[in-house]
Symmetry: none
Subunit: 220 residues, 4 copies
Amino acid sequence: MTEYEAFKELLELDDQEQLTPKQRQIVQAAIEIFSEKGYASTSTSEIAKRAGVAEGTIFRHYKTKKELLMAIVSPVITKLAVPFIAQSFVKQVFRDGEHKDFEELLRAMIVNRFEFAKKNVPLLKIVLQEVAFHPELQDRYKHIFREEVLPHFERFVSHYKEQGLIKDYPSETVLRLVITTVIGFLVTRFIVMPDADWDDEAEIDRTIDYILNGLQTVQD
Amino acid sequence: MTEYEAFKELLELDDQEQLTPKQRQIVQAAIEIFSEKGYASTSTSEIAKRAGVAEGTIFRHYKTKKELLMAIVSPVITKLAVPFIAQSFVKQVFRDGEHKDFEELLRAMIVNRFEFAKKNVPLLKIVLQEVAFHPELQDRYKHIFREEVLPHFERFVSHYKEQGLIKDYPSETVLRLVITTVIGFLVTRFIVMPDADWDDEAEIDRTIDYILNGLQTVQD
Amino acid sequence: MTEYEAFKELLELDDQEQLTPKQRQIVQAAIEIFSEKGYASTSTSEIAKRAGVAEGTIFRHYKTKKELLMAIVSPVITKLAVPFIAQSFVKQVFRDGEHKDFEELLRAMIVNRFEFAKKNVPLLKIVLQEVAFHPELQDRYKHIFREEVLPHFERFVSHYKEQGLIKDYPSETVLRLVITTVIGFLVTRFIVMPDADWDDEAEIDRTIDYILNGLQTVQD
Amino acid sequence: MTEYEAFKELLELDDQEQLTPKQRQIVQAAIEIFSEKGYASTSTSEIAKRAGVAEGTIFRHYKTKKELLMAIVSPVITKLAVPFIAQSFVKQVFRDGEHKDFEELLRAMIVNRFEFAKKNVPLLKIVLQEVAFHPELQDRYKHIFREEVLPHFERFVSHYKEQGLIKDYPSETVLRLVITTVIGFLVTRFIVMPDADWDDEAEIDRTIDYILNGLQTVQD
DNA sequence: GATGAATGAGACTTCATTCAT
DNA sequence: GATGAATGAAGTCTCATTCAT
């Protein structure tokens, strides 16, 4: 379980650690307002006001408004992919080949993403919104996805497929179904209906169950 | 199957039917640019240019830029909910209570939404983006969802749960899992990776399978 | 007294008599809105709406918005000067040279202007406002004043001055004081405080008294 | 007489003292153009041009064009009422009860207003024009008038009425006649015919005389 | 004559960015 | 580094006027 704590550290690593106080205020304010009204509808003057700094100060730290957005959004993209890239993940999966493993892997992933989402709702809102309009972001995502996530995932899936634990779908399809279900859960939980009365543990369990059943070879 | 064609007609009905030519051009151009760059980043002058009309003409038909957005987005909200509200749906489900039925229901829903999405990618992009920033839209969605979709769905689910065909999850959870999977599919197919090499029929089949398996009571 | 009725007729003469119904509606609406919000702040579309005609119809009858203003304002300027120009006035004054006469002249003038103002508050508001910004109007006023009003008045004043009934002030000063007092009364009565509880007869009497006393040679 | 000089200081006091240079240029330009063409017909771009600043600079100092108008007009309203409110006025009047006193009071008021008008023709033009179209301004005027000016004046008038120095008219009527005559003089002098050949001292004397005679009890 | 959709110039205003202090 | 006044390009919207119907 300590390996997941390592993730967390990794996540917090390249963060707002070496930011000056003013910078921290600016980034904090920008995250809040960007996530409330969207990047395009947010004015730098409003950011400055909420951050309690002069408007000029923003541009001392970030050449342009867009650079500020990227400074906020970029680390999140990395963080989002990290769990898949991390070696520990791979190791764990191949330690043995039982079904239990797949469930544990899923649970680890979901719980980890859940905790991350919980702590970063505004950040995730921003990413979700802005990815659509900034090709650079899309490119970075696609690159990471194709080069890092997909290959790793491919290995898991073929491993489990060989063992007859999951259906013989194309890996892309499996990946799509899993990711879609997980993201769908998190988005519903934290963005669409954050104020509903959630029994998080139960919902996580049910979501895992749903994925496992959904993917398993039909037993008849 | 002709009942779904009826839906389509319904969908196209109250639409851009009584628009003047200029208005049609404006709406068309606005849909395109809104979906490309987002509402906030789109200027009315750009819309006018692409529509081939004077900028003032936009404001003769829509008092504000926002009213133009709403004129575009509002009917889509209605359309999206229509299939759930339509009586034919309900009838079909209760014709008999076999498992086949559930699959057919699911397939009908997915195919129907698939066709709709296919023809309305830009519109869906706009809705997906802008719902986040316009509380009026959220309210309308929530209202339709709570008053129309949820009650209908509730009946289906309890029907199938009684027959032991799907797990004994809360209806909200079942709804979430199904909708999430369907939307996830459509978003991946048409928005995230529209240019990938898709075998639509197969993917639809697999998605239906995934949902059915995912929800069914474990048979062991 | 019939001579004053002649004035009235004159006043109503070149009026909105030969206007088409639509034109009448337009002029009526324009007068209302111009006097409420001022010429510059009134849009032709608002006039059209209140008049119940199409915007284009306005421009069928008046080449420009300004022409509409002038069509409204011009007759008023004439009307305002008419009593001074009219021959009957002169005649009356010189019928005899008694003090009573001057008072009657004054009273006639004030009552006449009072009735005119009463019926034309919106028109007078417009004139008062717009004269300031349209040199053509100023020129017309000055012309009428210098060519028509002043010469006539001059005769009255010198007549009364010779008789020792009024002070030996320059005629311009006498004219200024009288006009100023009358206009001041009318503006207060109908524009500044139209809703106060006025005893019109008494106020007219007092105003006449004030002027007479103010101008008369000091009796000591 | 030094007390009137005190007024002047008061008038200039809370003024454009703490304005930045740019702001001063903007206000100066705005006063000029507003008084030439009226508020509604003046564009902010023209103000900016005449002020020699960027158009945006106007809106850095005044959120809206109307706020700029109010910043210009508001202090004038106060200034106009100040002489009536000031204590020195009251003191002077009640020093003794002779007729001489009333004349002096009148003269003081007229001379003071005359000097003020002389230096503030454009400002007065603006106020005169815009009061008609901005209910807020009317309200402020009416408030000041009812709460400050009228009560003070009432005391003077009843004082003089008791002494038989002025007619037994309602105070409102006396006030109306006096103010009307004074304003009529100033408007004629500075706005209607500023370019005529005026003998200011003589005209002031005559105006005072006219008022005194006009109001005094008839001596026969 | 009457209409009202269409126009485009120009209005007010916002905003990211610069720069002297 | 920090400030915030200043900028001017660009945005949304208004409006007098035209013109095809």
